[in-house]
Amino acid sequence: MHEHTTAHLVLLARHGDESAWRALVHRHAPAVWSVARSFRLAEADAADVCQATWLAFAEHLHRVREPERIAGWLITTARRESLRLVRVRGREEPIDLWHPAGTGPGPEDVVLGDALATALWRAFAELSEQCQRVLRLVACAPELTYAQVAEALGLRVGSVGPTRSRCVERLRRRAVSAGLVSGVTR
């Protein structure tokens, strides 16, 4: 189904085509997941956010007016649910910002299949939270417009471009100084 545009898949799914729905899930699940994880939600909470987002989208399907923009809708919905859980969890237990519980392995614990990915992941993990959030989103959902990124992250539209450039540059510098990224990534 990868040859279909997102807008076409939405129209097919709206008419009951389950394989089109699965293709939409396949295409957008990483971005929805990364939004929840960018709020440092534990895996179970991130999973709940994702499920609520897709349930809401299944219901929203017949009301979609701009099917080509659903990536932004999904991400904004996931952000809203994530923010709510962050507030709820923050009241239930003190959050240890230095050692957040259940947000997955620390950067030093991860050794990925290839050295480039490992270097990038470690360089990424050392960036500021804002940079991590912006880069996660633009890497996992490259089709988003700056306006959608701004809405999803609660930024001003005008600041998305400069923030993105600054964070990409920091990532590149850290990866290069780690000695593992040279001419491979531009």
Partner: protein, 132 residues
């Protein structure tokens, strides 16, 4: 492009769990409620202790929800009515009585929920999905 490489690294380091993808695929089958959809209202202030609140509204009706423990739901329908409230989650549901606008459902499973309120003579209204 460094962002493409980063996307690959993120997917390798923190992949979307298979269960999350499976649940998303199943969301397609979640039955649509035969009820008027309520809009999510701004979250009410005045939270006490370990409770959290949500509010939903539509023309002439408002449903306030309060969650405590893991997971008790207390609801208030305004204007007050008598009827039933159905608390639904992806794998099941529970129906409780609405009396004077109040209803209570204790021990519902954590995770996505929605609430459908039915009052004779006033039709049915449904909240959207939210994480309880």
């Amino acid at each position: 492009m460094i962002l493409d490489d980063l996307a690959d690294a993120l997917h390798a380091a923190d992949p979307v769990p298979a269960g999350v993808v499976a649940a998303a695929a199943l969301a397609f089958d979640a039955r649509r409620e035969d009820a008027d959809a309520l809009e999510r209202l701004p979250e009410p202030a005045g939270v006490r202790g370990c409770t959290s609140r949500l509010a939903f509204g539509g023309p002439g009706v408002r449903v306030d929800l309060e969650f405590s423990g893991s997971l008790d739901v207390l609801g208030l329908v305004h204007p007050p009515c008598a009827g039933t409230a159905l608390v639904r989650w992806p794998g099941g549901s529970r129906e409780v009585v609405v009396d004077g606008g109040w209803f209570r459902a204790d021990g519902v499973p954590p995770g996505p929920l929605r609430v459908v309120v039915r009052a004779p003579g006033r039709g049915a209204v449904s909240t959207g999905w939210f994480v309880g």
